[in-house]
Amino acid sequence: MVAAAGSAAGDIGWTGLAVSLVLVAVAVAVSAGQHLGLERSMLWAATRALVQLLVVGLALTVVLDPDRPLLLAWAWVAMTVMVAAATVAHRAGEVPGVFLLALAACAAAVAVTLGVLFGLRVFPLEPRAVVPMAGLTLGNTMTATVVASRRIVGELSDKRIEVEARLALGQPWRDAARPYVRSAVRTALVPQVETTKAVGLVALPGAMTGLILAGVEPLDAVKVQAAVMYVVLASVSTTVTVVALGLTRRLFTPDHRLIRLHRQAA
């Protein structure tokens, strides 16, 4: 009975998907009613999201096939790491050396989280676990890399006078940058810590929502969700650390001068 209800909730069918487009129509109607001028943009976003997800779904059908080698899943992970780094480079183009930085951050975050999850056998080492966990890690890593790198560039740019006063006193770049980088890193991490604290109080997080819809018992869903939250926390912390170390080094010359920084326009 429960399984039947679960399967009904977990598979909405093409009709269900089509009906859910009513929600897009609501959003478009609101935009039109309020003269927000966002109708085309909303329709484009909804269409694009659907197409992207369908393409990914088709690809995942192949990658997650238990009869195929695990290597295929790892190849998928490697490809998504590259895509994530390219996406970050596009979003935070004003940050010097951002592509390599993002690549290092994504690779480090994936290595740490997958290393722990599969090394300690939290999840079974199979494509069905490797691919979504890597995706989850990278999603958060991308955001954290953009936020942390912009904060660091912004903080060192705003406090340039203080940083140069420290350099002028003979402090090495690492010491001169430390208070400002620390402040930027805290700012980048605090929202994630707050989110972790508040999880479940208002919104049910994504993984749990999906599992409950798919008919999994709530307490089982909670266990997975908790593991997911810890993955997110670990990946964000790893990312921010890699970004702080790599970017700060990049913003100073070998002879301890702060390079000229360009803040983001908006």
Binding site: I161, E164, L167, A168, L169, G170, T253, R257
Partner: protein
Amino acid sequence: MAGALFELDRVVVDGDVDAGGEPGPRILDDVTLEVPGSGITVLAGPSGAGKSTLLRLCNRLAVPTSGRVLYRGADVAGLDPLVHRRRVGMVFQRPALFTGTVRDNLLVARPDGDDARFAAVLEAVTLPSTFLDRTADDLSGGEAQRACLARTLVTDPEVLLMDEPTSSVDPTTTAVLERLARDLAGGGVPVLWVTHDLAQAGRLADHRIVLMGGRVADADQAAAYLAGESGQRP
């Protein structure tokens, strides 16, 4: 030659050279000059003449695009920048105290310093020793600039670079800083003082260098500028 403190040899500085992109506008253009090894040398000139950049070259917060900067005969490019910067102390135009107390600030400059030493250096800039416990944010502009000077002096610099240190402070602080520069120069610590205040240049200068448009002004231009007759806004 032997007595020169700094020598600039055909120095060119283009803006944005550190950013790795296209070089920006030229800030210093083929500058060759000597800063004498004693007394107060005033570096004067209108805004945008390249005075601050020249000062930053002297303690290697900036490097030339081409040409050489020598300190007591040694190419600054070959010196350890951290050691050099402690020898060549610098006070900036706007006071930049770090978060914390005045003592915290002095400890950044001199981690092995103690309160007796810190009190002495505060006294030199006419601040009472009770200021050691004052929070940097609570100081007035003039007090903050004097604390910044104290922070530089506590490293026992051989030379002092002052980048328009009195442009945003009260007359009392201006008088204190000028007197202190005079005392330091008298005690064997040469001072290179940047200003666009002609009256101040007249009061302080043992030696004068005038920059205009990124170049060293010739004798006639310099005399006209210092007399306030150049038509250039100081």
